[in-house]
């Protein structure tokens, strides 16, 4: 945790590179793109936080809202020319953490914490219902090679549950030895960490690590890139030493080894890089390779792809808190328009948060029936039953 952010945060020059993709074509910071006041850009957050620390401005709900509309997509880190670029997210987490400690956070963030604390998920849905989607999917038992860690979205959101089912079907098809935790699964804490509730994050992480160890788990597959990120990058500091895979990594391996054999699909697909796979973990090619293994499928790129991908707006808990609000300029709707402009009939995702955000955005853009939003698992699953041409 970068609690020493207070001694560094003044270093932002507010040059604005953080707002752009590499070609400077449009604004790539989701909150800035949505609100357009400079205060909602990374430099706005850093300068205002510094002002707050110095006592030049008072805390206000507006200040907290500005800080929490950041989706932590890391576009700023990718494009900031300064040596401290890699620390920016930690600085914002540090500032949020200070606000949490002082009890000065937006109500929707407080509700998020309360839900995770009380229910183990941000939806305030019953723990016992966590595996209601699973249709008898095997519960992890010692000896299984992998734990499939489903995550809160995959467990509770109707659309994301389809994603979870597809991944399960594919793993079963390939004969992978795995199990889920079912109602024993708990929130991974990625969003809790990014929202700055360090105590709750530590509790969640330690609880999960203890559970994984007790079950003898060595390898974990996550459905959600957010979970992948926190398990891979944050848990080791708390003693975790598990092998972490995102399902697209495993799927790529299984397809290449022909344990899964997709059949012809004549879809035109564009793939959206989720922040927590791409910019956070440099996983750009595996999902594309899976899609390219599907005979007949045409993969087209959006202008902003890979490290320039434009965030869906759901990061840092905004898939449920929705601090960026809807509207035509909401990041998800902007991104859906970019996807549709490629001529693709399908927007492929690899993240349940993106799936949820884009599914709503397609409705907002009235693109139902013109642009389908599907995760890579769903696309491959459908291809297994596709007719050969």
């Amino acid at each position: 945790m970068a609690q020493d952010y207070a001694g560094q945060i003044h270093r932002c020059f507010r040059c604005g590179y953080c707002k752009f993709p590499n070609d400077y074509s449009s604004f790539n910071c989701p909150a800035y793109r949505r609100f357009r006041f400079d205060t909602y850009s990374t430099s706005g957050r850093l300068w205002l936080t510094y002002a707050w620390l110095k006592g030049e401005i008072d805390w206000s709900e507006h200040l907290a809202e500005i800080l929490y509309t950041c989706t932590m997509c890391k576009n700023c880190t990718e494009h900031c020319p300064m040596k401290f670029a890699a620390d920016i997210v930690d600085w914002i987490v540090g500032a949020r953490s200070d606000m949490v400690e002082k009890g000065k956070i937006p109500p929707r963030v407080a509700h998020f914490f309360e839900a995770v604390y009380g229910y183990g998920n941000p939806y305030k849905l019953l723990r016992d219902d966590r595996a209601a989607w699973a249709n008898g999917t095997k519960i992890y038992a010692p000896g299984d090679e992998y734990l499939l860690y489903v995550g809160c979205l995959g467990s509770y959101d109707e659309n994301a549950q389809k994603m979870a089912r597809s991944v399960v079907e594919l793993l079963n098809t390939a004969g992978v030895s795995f199990g889920i935790l079912g109602s024993d699964e708990e929130c991974c804490g990625n969003e809790v960490y990014l929202l700055g509730e360090m105590g709750l994050f530590q509790t969640l992480a330690e609880k999960n690590i203890k559970k994984f160890r007790e079950l003898g788990i060595k390898k974990i597959i996550t459905i959600c890139p957010h979970g992948y990120n926190v398990l891979k990058n944050r848990y080791p500091a708390l003693g975790a030493d598990f092998e972490i895979y995102h399902y697209t990594q495993l799927l790529n391996d299984l397809v290449q080894k022909k344990k899964i054999k997709p059949l012809r699909r004549n879809d035109k697909v564009t793939y959206h890089d989720p922040c927590f796979l791409g910019r956070y973990n440099n996983l750009y090619e595996e999902p594309r390779q899976v899609l390219q293994y599907i005979p007949g499928l045409t993969l087209v790129e959006m202008e902003k792809n890979r490290a320039d991908s434009f965030c869906c707006g759901g990061g840092s808990g905004n898939f449920i808190m929705d601090l960026l609000a809807g509207g035509k300029e909401s990041p998800a709707r902007v991104r859906v328009r970019e996807a549709y402009a490629t001529g693709a009939d399908t927007l492929a995702v690899a993240c349940p948060s993106c799936l949820v955000m884009f599914t709503d955005a397609v409705k907002g853009e009235e693109l139902d029936g013109k642009l389908a939003v599907k995760d890579i698992g769903q696309i491959v699953t459908e291809s297994l039953s596709a007719k050969k041409d």
Binding site: R11, F13, G16, Y17, Y24, S25, R36, D38, S60, M82
Partner: protein
Amino acid sequence: MSDILEALEKIVGKDWASNHQEERYFYGRDPGLMTPHEADYVVMPATTDEVQQIVKLANKEKVAIVPKGAGLALTGLVVPLKGGIVMDTKRMDRILEVNEKARYAVVEAGVTQGALRDYLNKHHPDLRHSVPEAPPITTIAANVVIHGQGRLTNQYGFNSDMVNGLEVVLPTGDICKIGSCSIGPYWFSKGAPLPDLSGLFLGWLGTTGVITKVGLKLYPKKKIKDLEILVTDKEDLVPDIIYKLTHTEMIEDLAIWAQERPLMFRGNYHINIFLTADSEGELEMKRKMVYDSVQEYVDSKDAGFMTINLDMRRDFMDNPQKSMTAFADVRRGGGFEYAGPIIPLELYPECARKVAELAIKHRVVYGGSGRVIHGGHCMMFSFAYTFNRADLDEMGRARAALHEAAEFVADKGGLLWKPNVDEQKIMMERMDPNTLKLMADVKKLLDPNGIMNPGNWEVR
């Protein structure tokens, strides 16, 4: 006061006006050393019509308006010195037209340098505009208002010389077109053969109206570009070397830099020679002419061409030059400002010595860079000092160094570029009284209520 907010919201919509302390704070300062002053309101119009309504409102309420692009002049030109409304123009972001044959673009006031560069790259790959080295968020309109410079300045002059027409909302609220666009649909001339009225707005730092559209000259984009760097440790030779280089008329851009960090650069003057061509043959010919023009200095061992490593070449060829921004963090403190006087070439040696001398005197880190303007008729010389924004003492020393640099240059006859209010005062004190009176008359005529960016170019 809340009535004004309501009126602004009625004009632009609730999402695009604010009087929250956060917007008032952020828009009340820039990254430089000018004393901040809070805005009362921040508003983001999307159309000329909205700008017009805001200006009329400001006249009615006698409230100041400060038009703002990215606010990266570093000299406090968009700090609302007397409060009022800061008008962030970046929602006016449409590229309205590119006339390929006549080589011009028409853009709204908030179009960024980055957006136009990208648009031309994608849709008109044979054309380019003069991209400044400032970050890509800076706007076309703000850049011409401050007489900015860019990569084509050696060939074609100040970026404001490349203006082909303007649409302006006058301080009274009238919408006025300047140049050929005032007669017909074309934006091919900002004045000639008519009286050139663009001079009522360019260089006035937003004190005479709000520019809402700019017609901008575009230029051929060559297929190949290359860089040579000539290094000398004798600053007195730089004007002669530049004179010889510009005589070739083969060079796209000429920039001179000297800095004390990293230490290997200390005491040397580096002349970046940017070359462009459509073929290897053309490039080779230009390179040979450049070599020949300075051969005597190479032979005498007074200068030599530097071996440029790949990273350095990439950084310099980048336009805008992203690495330049990192200068702000040399002191791990997020700040730098420069006084950028426009000087005749012959003053370069004195300025080069002065920038280092002031750095020692005021215990600050310097960078001294220059850009040749229009084939050497003059150059911009930047007295740049970096500072730590968390160190008030160092900020004070950097401010003192800049003030001293401005006094020094003005005494020599240089003109201070994008001057802060202190530097404006320095120049107006030295200005011919009749010139000063003319400026005051023009300002009074255009802005009878004194609402436009007050505090700047204020003749007392």
